[in-house]
C-alpha cells in the first residue's frame, strides 16, 4: 500500500531561522513527488514536482530535493508569510490514487 508520512507534524521558527521539512514515501515506481502549500481556509497551492532522485527545484526561499525514499523542503531565511501547512503527495502506479501526507504546520514568528 502506498504511504506518505511527513515530519515534523508542526514546526515553529523565528524569522530568518532556516530549517527543513521531511516527506517519506513508500510507493512502487515513483512517478513524481508533489509539494503543496495550504493556507487556512484555502485549497492546496501547487509548489513543485520532482521526478527523479537527485533532482532539486527552487522557488524564492524554498528548495525541494528528492532521494529514493524521501523528499526535503528546505526553507531558507523564512518570513512570517511562509507560515502555512506544507503537504507532499505521490501518485499511484498508474497516475491515479494521489496519496497525500498529513502535512507539516509551519509557523514563522516575527
Amino acid at each position: 500500500e502506498d504511504q506518505v508520512t511527513q515530519s515534523p507534524e508542526a514546526l515553529r521558527l523565528q524569522e530568518g531561522e532556516s530549517s527543513s521539512l521531511n516527506c517519506s514515501y513508500t510507493v512502487s515506481g515513483l512517478r513524481g513527488l508533489f509539494w503543496y502549500r495550504q493556507d487556512p481556509g484555502k485549497g492546496p497551492e501547487f509548489l513543485f514536482t520532482l521526478y527523479s532522485a537527485g533532482e532539486e527545484k527552487e522557488k524564492e526561499r524554498l528548495k525541494a530535493t528528492l532521494t529514493k525514499k524521501e523528499s526535503f523542503l528546505h526553507i531558507t531565511a523564512p518570513k512570517p508569510e511562509d507560515s502555512a501547512t506544507y503537504l507532499c503527495a505521490v501518485p499511484g502506479l498508474y497516475g491515479q490514487n494521489f496519496v497525500f501526507g498529513p502535512g507539516t504546520r509551519l509557523s514563522v514568528l516575527p
Partner: protein, 114 residues
C-alpha cells in the same frame, strides 16, 4: 486564467439530511478530482474523473456518496444521508490529464454535520 470554482463555501446540515457540492474545473482540464480533508489531515481522494468517465472511486463510500461529471466539465458530489463523520472540507481539483500532472485546487466546501 480562472481557477477551480466550488460552491457553496460553507454548509451546515443535520445528520441524515442530504447535501450537494458543485465544482467547475479550469477550462481545458480533462481530469477532475474530489477530495475529503478532515481537520488536521491531508486530503483523501474520493473519486477521479477523466472527461466524464470514472477512473478511480475505490475510496468513495458508495452507500451514501455519489458523484457525476456532466458533459466532461462541471461535477457534483452528493451525500445522502449524511453522518456526523462526514464533517470535513470537500476539495475539488483539476489537472490537464490523468498522468501525474500537478493538480489545481478550488477553495473547498466546509461541511458541518450536526
Amino acid at each position: 486564467e480562472a481557477g477551480v470554482a466550488q460552491s457553496p463555501r460553507y454548509k451546515i446540515i443535520e445528520k441524515r439530511q442530504s447535501v450537494a457540492f458543485w465544482c467547475n474545473p479550469i477550462s481545458g482540464h480533462a481530469t477532475l478530482y474530489w477530495y475529503q480533508q478532515i481537520l488536521g489531515q491531508g486530503p483523501k481522494l474520493l473519486i477521479q474523473f477523466q472527461n466524464n468517465g470514472v477512473v478511480d472511486d475505490s475510496q468513495l463510500p458508495k452507500d451514501r456518496f455519489s458523484a457525476e461529471r456532466l458533459k466532461g466539465v462541471d461535477s457534483t458530489l452528493k451525500i445522502q444521508p449524511a453522518k456526523l463523520e462526514d464533517s470535513a472540507v470537500y476539495l475539488c481539483a483539476s489537472s490537464l490529464g490523468p498522468e501525474p500532472y500537478e493538480q489545481y485546487f478550488g477553495p473547498g466546501t466546509r461541511l458541518t454535520v450536526t
